[in-house]
Assembly symmetry: C3
Homo-oligomer: 206 residues x 3
């Protein structure tokens, strides 16, 4: 699938940009630190998905273009550093495109290994959010998915939508587009209207 391959490289570059910006906002890291964190943000989720599935070889191990896509993302982040920091909305759009793309591609890859749809949905979500989780753990922070909660929930919901459409025999490209749009839209609305999930255990305490 040509278009899927290029989408994946583009998603990787978007994630690398977002990783580099996140790293650069911290206490003055140098080029190595930013590159390292950016690389892990961009490849961590997919690598974890493949390791859990036993889907060897991993993408960036067998295809150096993935690494070059990361480097391209870091270069873009470096060249437009000040501009990107001033345009948080542009950054939000890139990051949301990245998670929408990674979720649906992750679900598809998991399904190719004949797993239960519920497992496929979880692995799709992992593909999209785990790179950021590892990045936050390395930076000694509470992972962002426990703070901006609708982030991962949007991925999971989109993954389930993909599976439902797929179950009813819709064309593959349609399933992907619908699910990706849904993730993007849900996240956008959640941020705009400050949606959040109910607290766990709270209902019992009143």
């Amino acid at each position: 699938m040509h278009y899927q391959y290029y989408l994946e490289l583009a998603g990787t570059a978007f994630f690398a940009i977002s990783g580099a910006l996140a790293a650069a906002r911290k206490a003055s890291p140098d080029w190595f630190g930013v590159t390292f964190i950016s690389f892990i943000t961009a490849t961590g989720g997919g690598s974890l998905r493949d390791i859990l599935l036993g889907a060897y070889p991993l993408g960036w191990i067998s295809d150096v273009n993935v690494i070059l896509a990361v480097f391209a993302g870091i270069l873009i982040a470096s060249l437009f550093f000040r501009n990107l920091l001033k345009l948080p909305k542009l950054f939000f759009v890139f990051d949301s495109l990245g998670i929408a793309m990674f979720t649906t591609l992750g679900v598809e890859k998991a399904l190719a290994y004949d797993v239960h749809p519920l497992v496929a949905a979880m692995l799709g979500m992992f593909s999209a959010v785990m790179g950021g989780v590892i990045r936050d753990v390395l930076s000694n922070e509470i992972p962002v998915i426990f703070r901006k909660e609708i982030y991962a929930t949007a991925c999971l919901s989109g993954a389930i939508l993909y599976l439902i459409l797929n179950h009813y025999g819709l064309e593959r490209r349609l399933c992907i587009s619908a699910a990706a749009l849904f993730i993007f839209g849900l996240r956008y609305l959640a941020v705009k209207y400050h949606w959040s999930l109910p607290q766990f255990g709270r209902q019992k305490e009143q």
Copy 2:
């Protein structure tokens, strides 16, 4: 082995309960955060063991019942949230049953891959404690095994007991029961009498 399969599902649910309660005690996480942390607590140790062994497919990837056991644990934790917080002893019993079960099942699984008994003992201990370690790392805390130290040592001792009994040809169900009881008892006594291990390097400093 039917009974072993159901024991493993029960152990997974116990771990999910303990993971959900641990997560819920933190700064007001929502349902997604609690589910995510609970899932990792319950499946992280076994997943790491299988990845280190190359034992594919992983349990929860190939058997959706494991995921359903986690969800059952979370549901129980939610329904009995206040009661469970008021009964730390009951919680302690569930958690101890969980680690006793996971340690012995982990040793058995490792032995099936023809590893050295020392490696099997370590992998048994990893199965029981690594889910909690990952949970603590994600919550930005020093892992509990470095604070309540007899916790992991009990697992390791039980794993070694299993290997000794097994070496002398005792029946498998007997080895499991003896090792699990030993882990449970050692942990109980350690908590009751405040046992702890000697400090490293201290003997040199006086």
Copy 3:
């Protein structure tokens, strides 16, 4: 390769010593905590490299001598605890020998799996630094490679030197020695003359 095997065990023991000392400097850990952290520091980088490559079985899973090398390192760290803390330069030498050795052996192992040279260089660097990264994450600290930055950059540069020499057909043992010496020397000079890498994004802000 006999000599390579013993070099690897020696490197593992060096890393275990450095892991035990790092752990023991923290808030009074007991023997179990020090052993656990020391084990992860010594085996974590190589394990991650092998998991990413799908190179099963992992070293310490199939060869109990690796675990014994870790225990030897911990024993040495315990016996000479006060002396080692008073001789930070000796400690620096051991740690630098460890990373030089692990980087070159890591590059070689990756090349054996037919990966792109760029991937091999990254996996060589991972072998050397990731054990320490996992150790720091478990201790709830910002990984040292983001603070003493030339550390990992030295590994990466040495890995690239190995690949260049190897590309021009130099004898294997010569490639290893040159790369290891280069890593050692670069790190030594970087610490002595306080070399550091340029800050990311800084050039744009003036």
